[in-house]
């Protein structure tokens, strides 16, 4: 059975966006827990608040109110530099638009967060090669990001996300910009790294992508409206073992 240690504890998270006249409640008192080793998909139509939730979980944005504890640390009370540290060491991001450094080799892209973390140079390259090989890009180490396909770029992003062994991997529509065949490959990689013990939180609006997760949280109008275990996936996972 998975460890019951809560990696994420969100209590009454709210986020209000203010433009000149209108206040939009993007998140409305959302509370939940995610334990270590889980693979959670957050689903919902656009405007449901799932992206906002994702940004707050990723310490990319601050909630208007509520409490967010990541791996035992209250994120709200942290300084800008401490937040940078959290994003660096505790969170691995996989974005819909890949967000790799343009015209830069895959190796350098994967090494970048390790450079910010102060990992010694030789070790950085060693780890980057290891993770790139793991996502199947061992033969593309010196290709620049514009020389590889979208699916390959997303695999570089995954290698980058796991390079510092973070507490959680946050994936925001990771297959949104990728052809469906390659999307399947990406999901297989996510499942593989989840099996190795990484906690994954993934946002998607595609049900067949959410299928791959072990737990599906559904959102609508800034609230959680569903939170179910994906029994099929769990069964599959166990039978496979």
């Amino acid at each position: 059975m998975p460890n019951e240690y809560p990696i994420i504890t969100a209590s009454l998270l709210s986020k209000i966006y203010k433009t000149e006249a209108i206040e939009t409640m993007a998140l409305d008192d959302v509370s939940f827990k995610i334990n270590k080793g889980e693979f959670v998909a957050i689903m919902g139509p656009s405007g449901s608040g799932k992206s906002t939730l994702m940004h707050i979980l990723g310490a990319l944005d601050q909630p208007t109110s509520g409490e967010y504890i990541l791996d035992g640390k209250n994120v709200e009370s942290l300084s800008d530099d401490d937040l940078a540290d959290i994003r660096n060491k505790k969170i691995g991001f996989v974005f819909q638009a890949f967000n790799l450094l343009p015209r830069t080799t895959t190796l350098r892209n994967v090494m970048l967060p390790m450079a910010y973390a102060g990992v010694p140079k030789e070790q950085r390259e060693e780890l980057a090669i290891k993770y790139l090989t793991m996502v199947g890009l061992g033969d593309r180490l010196h290709h620049t990001t514009n020389q590889i396909s979208g699916g390959q770029q997303q695999r570089v992003a995954i290698a980058r996300a796991i390079s510092l062994d973070p507490a959680i991997i946050l994936a925001d529509e990771p297959t949104g910009n990728i052809a469906s065949v390659q999307a399947e490959e990406i999901m297989e990689i996510f499942k593989k790294i989840n099996e190795k013990g990484h906690t994954i939180v993934m946002i998607t609006h595609e049900p067949d992508i959410a299928e791959h997760a072990k737990r599906v949280i559904t959102m609508r109008d800034g609230k959680i409206v569903g939170d179910i275990k994906n029994t099929k996936r769990i069964t599959y996972f166990h039978s496979h073992k």
Binding site: D61, D80, A84, R87, N88, R103, T104, P113, A115
Partner: protein, 407 residues
């Protein structure tokens, strides 16, 4: 992350975006280069004016015969025959004169000069050998007027290069040829080295003949039009003016110095007049340089603002991956410094090259002012760094998600 690594990151970021980097650098190169070229152009012109004046002779005093007075109407200087050979001899030999090195009595007149089918009207200068030393005139071929020529009143002439061209055409050796000045024939014994200049002060458009020949044979006069005096050094100029002034007043039996029938003009007077003119010129050019510096500065500011703002998303990504604000700002600062520094050096080279080409084309002086290089470099570097830093620090202060979404 260590500073050496940030520098490497900056360099790789600059080399990865060659177009962006070279465009930004181009703005800096042009900004700095134009300022340096303009200032150099101004200073070269200033120097060429000064050197033209200086080429007339250094430590030089010119005594001209005074103006004629008809009641209250005063004529032009030199219109009265008040200077004599005796005056020149007195200045050279009087024990009261202590600061004079050389004295050159001169008679200047104009005459028609004819050779074969060509003729010209030019200045005929009656001189003694010391004239060449006092006025820094040298001969490119043949020889100058000698003591023997003056003593025996020979009919020999030394021609300026312009006269040679006028009378004989290009590429003809005039040495030994006969020319007719007025009604008399002279043998050409030398040609002077070209000095440049134009108009009436063109020292190349002259014929030098022995002083005695000019006075007695050509113009039938006994007086001098001017006496050039070379003082022992520049600091003795004022003393020399006083000594000569009193000596001549004495010789001409004039008691009131305001009624002197001669005037003494020093090289320093001419230089100060000229430097007033070039001073105005320099002020004007400084203004032009200041404006180009301003325009160049705005160009640099613009390109830095655009290139850094354009990278807000990249800054957002770097923050998302864990870069601290300080590291991002340092990276952009290092990039700005490298960019403006490299651009600055290229700009300096461009400016020097332009100034050099200008000097070559105008065969003028090639002057580069260290102050203009320093000023242009400092101003553009400061602008480049400030406007590289400012948008970077603004972007680095955003919430990472805002920077990531920046359009």
């Amino acid at each position: 992350m260590e500073i050496s690594e940030i520098i490497l990151e900056s360099i790789s970021s600059l080399t990865l975006n060659k177009l962006r980097t070279s465009l930004a650098m181009l703005g800096i190169v042009i900004g700095i280069g134009s300022v340096i070229a303009l200032v150099s152009l101004g200073q070269a012109s200033q120097q060429s004016v000064q050197s033209t004046i200086q080429s007339l002779g250094s430590n030089l005093l010119t005594i001209s015969s005074g103006s004629q007075r008809n009641g209250t109407v005063r004529g032009a200087a030199g219109s009265q025959a008040t200077l004599s050979n005796a005056d020149a001899t007195a200045i050279a030999t009087s024990p009261k004169i202590t600061t004079v090195k050389n004295v050159s009595p001169e008679y200047s007149g104009r005459s028609q000069v004819i050779t074969g089918s060509n003729n010209t009207n030019t200045t005929i200068l009656g001189v003694v050998p010391i004239y060449a030393g006092v006025h820094s005139v040298s001969v490119s071929s043949g020889s100058f007027i000698t003591e023997r020529d003056v003593n025996s009143m020979t009919k020999v002439a030394v021609l300026g290069p312009t006269v040679v061209t006028d009378l004989f055409g290009e590429g003809v050796d005039p040495l030994g040829q006969k020319i007719r000045i007025g009604s008399q024939y002279f043998t050409v014994i030398g040609v002077t080295t070209a000095k440049g200049g134009s108009g009436p002060s063109n020292q190349d458009d002259r014929i030098y003949v022995p002083l005695t020949t000019a006075q007695k044979q050509l113009f039938g006069v006994k007086n001098l039009t001017s006496i050039a005096v070379e003082a022992i050094d520049a600091t003795a100029m004022t003393t020399a003016v006083d000594e000569i002034g009193y000596l001549l007043l004495d010789m001409h039996k004039i008691t009131d110095p305001t009624k002197a029938d001669f005037s003494i003009m020093s090289q320093a007077d001419m230089l100060s007049t000229a430097s007033q003119v070039t001073g105005t010129f320099t002020t004007l050019l400084s203004g032009v340089a200041a404006i180009s510096l301003l325009v160049g500065g705005i160009g640099i500011m613009n390109i830095m603002l655009v290139t850094v703002t354009e990278r807000t998303r990249e800054i957002g990504l770097r923050k998302a991956l864990g870069a601290k604000k300080k590291i991002i700002i340092t990276q952009f600062l290092v990039e700005s410094v490298i960019l403006t520094f490299t651009g600055g050096i290229l700009g300096i080279l461009l400016g020097i090259l332009l100034a050099f080409i200008y000097a070559r084309l105008t065969s003028g002086a090639f002057v580069i002012s260290a102050a203009s290089i320093f000023l242009a470099f400092v101003v553009s570097t400061v602008i480049g760094v400030v406007f590289g830093w400012y948008p970077a620090q603004r972007a680095a202060s955003l919430q990472p998600i805002e920077a990531l979404r920046y359009e």
